[in-house]
């Protein structure tokens, strides 16, 4: 069952790659986080009740499925930034690279590079691929808002890998990470406001004053 959720989690990330509209991307991000929280719930409520996984699931639901997308949507609305944004790589190229990442992860990284980790399900592959998606997303986008989304995608991938590899980090640390993500996005939002104020644009091509 978890493999299926993992598959959906992966697909949500993969579909984000070719999408230009930022609101579609935010919706997909929220969907991805939803599958993350379902995975956490199914680990916590499966064979035996584990309050730890359930707590993570609840937190994910509150912070990443509801709060973060709302914050991001507010940001998009107030900046009126929901036009189609330029990308450094086109949709078809992005999708191809996404598929390559999936192939690389399931064909090489997980079976060869991470062979010492024996977890017995495919969640790890989905997690690693999602981290790489996030990385690619940050690099390939030219809009600062998209870059924030990419970072949240990476963070989702990290969370799933923590769940997949270790069954979840100690709860104090998970809380710390949630807090960091939330504050981080808020701070990035604040900087984006200032950037849009003084550059009159959200394109990182304009951020080219510092060289050498």
């Amino acid at each position: 069952m978890e493999t299926i959720y993992g598959f959906f989690f992966l697909m949500a990330g993969l579909l984000m790659l070719p999408m230009r509209r930022i609101k579609v991307n935010i919706a997909l991000l929220s969907l991805q986080a939803l599958f993350l929280s379902i995975i956490a719930f199914s680990e916590g409520l499966g064979s035996a009740f584990e309050w730890h996984s359930v707590a993570i699931g609840l937190l994910t639901l509150l912070v990443k499925v509801i709060a973060l997308p709302l914050i991001l949507l507010r940001l998009v609305n107030s900046l009126q930034a929901d036009q189609e944004k330029d990308m450094s790589a086109g949709p078809i190229v992005s999708m191809t690279i996404g598929l390559l990442i999936v192939g690389l992860t399931f064909g090489y990284i997980v079976p060869v590079l991470l062979q010492d980790i024996r977890v017995g399900h495919d969640l790890l592959g989905a997690a690693v691929a999602t981290i790489l998606f996030g990385c690619f997303f940050v690099v390939s986008r030219r809009c600062v808002l998209h870059q924030v989304l990419g970072i949240v995608v990476m963070e989702n991938g990290l969370f799933l890998s923590a769940l997949a590899i270790t069954g979840g980090m100690p709860i104090m640390i998970e809380l710390g990470i949630f807090f960091d993500v939330l504050v981080g996005v808020l701070v990035m939002g604040a900087i984006i406001y200032k950037i849009s104020d003084s550059f009159k644009s959200l394109d990182i091509k304009r951020l080219n004053r510092l060289r050498g």
């Binding site: 010492d116 996030g134 940050v138 990290l158 100690p170 990470i177 981080g184 950037i195 951020l207 080219n208």
Partner: protein
């Protein structure tokens, strides 16, 4: 006691958030900075009188963290006190709005608190969270002035470091997985001092993989060469006291995290795997930085690239290991913090007087600012590694260890790149100091408290180069001994 070290800056930060007169903000910030400094010194004192690590609900102060606490305390205090005149001048120049000053002081104290948490946290995860928090807080400080360049620097900084540090988290997750098999109870599996004793039970190939992620992740934050791209931007655009903190302390906090993992990985694998990687990255950072130093036009970027080089030296020293390597690296960590901190603060004053960051336009600093200019030139010599300053001693130790372990080649490369950087720095320094002052400037520099703050670290540097008291030497040897033994037996 240790908790007070986190509480003092946080409470100061909280009070500074309230709207009040500029004068009151200044008083509160200075009092908070001095209080934090005193608490830090008291903690260090406490540690030495007991001669064993202080442990307190998740915080842990041992020999290695004491070194870092000392650095944070010194620079934190100096930078906070220095900010007062600096900020007033910025308000005069209409760079800052007076009503936002409280926010600035508040952020700088939170920044200091997160750095203390980084070096005091016993838990790897908490340390990661603290390092990420330093990024978030200092990004706001970097972009504080709101200029286009500053915003660009802040954006690059927060994005690059957040992406980088995500990989460090992957390394921590792998370590946790390796430890789960042995340590059992989850709370303890991620604490430094409970990991070292069980190190030989951990899976070596997993730890190697984890170390690669850690080196990439925290290496980004430390400004190791190919990952350093955020560093010159952020350091040059931040207000000068913040640049001093970024360069002198924050980089060291990231290096501290790498050192801890390096010691653990050595203990687990029983091989030189992690040392080899660190030597490689150290050399690359040193060689990679000097072309940028030689052709630099912006004074603060020059200093920033010099930081990349010095991070390389420290990482190289740690990688080489042994008594000489570790002693050199730790001394260098302190010396670089003191020297580079002073340089950034001087540069701040110089930039304010000349209203430009371009080296070409800063002529006759020795005539316009006799004290600051002279301190600046002396610190440039110090950072370049000239005797009688402490950096000469620490660089020589690292070079000596290089010759000892890898023979002629490594030591030669090391000395050559240090020499080239030295010529570059002295060339720029000489041009700025000994040229004639353009006639439009009026010469006057009344002595202020800020000059004392600049001269104090310089005196410490001279002392370290000439004579280190025996008690301090003993402390150092103990820290180094515990590092050689693998970090397990704490001093």
């Amino acid at each position: 006691m240790i908790y007070l070290l986190l509480a003092a800056p946080l409470i100061t930060a909280l009070i500074c958030l309230f709207p009040m007169k500029l004068r009151k903000w200044e008083i509160i910030s200075s009092l908070g900075a001095i209080l934090t400094g005193i608490v830090a010194i008291a903690c260090i004192q406490d540690y030495f009188s007991k001669e064993k690590p202080i442990e307190h609900y998740g915080l842990f102060l041992d020999g290695l963290s004491t070194v870092l606490v000392f650095v944070i305390a010194m620079l934190g205090m100096i930078c906070c006190l220095y900010s007062i005149r600096y900020i007033r001048k910025e308000i005069e120049r209409q760079e800052f709005e007076e009503k936002r000053v409280g926010k600035f002081y508040s952020l700088i104290h939170i920044f200091i608190a997160t750095m203390y948490l980084t070096v005091l946290a016993d838990n790897l995860g908490v340390m990661w969270v603290a390092i990420e928090a330093t990024t978030i807080v200092s990004a706001l400080l970097v972009g504080f002035s709101g200029h286009k360049e500053a915003l660009e620097a802040a954006w690059k900084y927060i994005i690059i470091c957040t992406v980088g540090i995500a990989f460090a988290m992957l390394g921590i997750i792998l370590t946790y997985y390796a430890a789960q098999a042995t340590a059992g109870e989850e709370q303890f599996a991620l604490s430094w001092h409970s990991l070292y004793p069980v190190a030989h039970h951990l899976n070596p190939s997993l730890m190697k993989l984890a170390f690669i992620f850690i080196l990439v992740g925290f290496g980004t934050k430390a400004g190791v060469f190919p990952l350093h791209t955020w560093l010159p931007d952020a350091h040059s655009q931040a207000p000068s006291p913040v640049s001093a903190l970024l360069s002198g302390v924050l980089l060291n906090c990231a290096i501290y995290a790498i050192i801890r993992f390096h010691l653990l990985t050595m203990e687990v694998t029983g091989s030189n795997f992690s040392s080899g990687l660190m030597i490689l990255f150290g050399i690359i950072s040193m060689i990679g930085a000097f072309p940028f130093i030689l052709v630099q036009k912006d004074i603060k970027r020059l200093l920033a690239y010099s930081s990349v080089e010095h991070v390389g030296i420290i990482i190289l020293g740690i990688g080489l290991g042994g008594t000489l390597g570790y002693t050199g690296a730790l001394l260098h960590l302190i010396n670089h913090a003191l020297g580079k901190g002073t340089l950034f603060l001087c540069a701040g004053t110089i930039v304010q007087e000349y209203r430009t960051k371009f080296i070409q336009k800063m002529q006759g600093i020795g005539q316009l600012l006799p004290v600051t200019g002279t301190v600046f030139l002396a610190s440039l010599f110090a950072i370049g590694g000239a005797p009688p300053f402490g950096l000469f001693v620490s660089e020589m130790s690292v070079a000596g260890r290089g010759f000892q372990v890898y023979g002629f080649g490594l030591g030669f490369i090391f000395l050559m790149s240090v020499a080239i950087v030295f010529t570059g720095l002295v060339y720029f320094g000489g041009k700025m100091y000994f040229s004639d002052l353009p006639s439009r400037f009026k010469v006057k520099e009344p002595l202020t408290i800020n000059h004392v703050l600049l001269i104090l670290p310089l005196i410490l540097l001279v002392f370290q180069g000439i004579y280190i008291p025996e008690s301090i030497q003993n402390i150092f040897f103990k820290v180094v001994e515990s590092m050689i033994a693998g970090g397990g037996n704490h001093v």
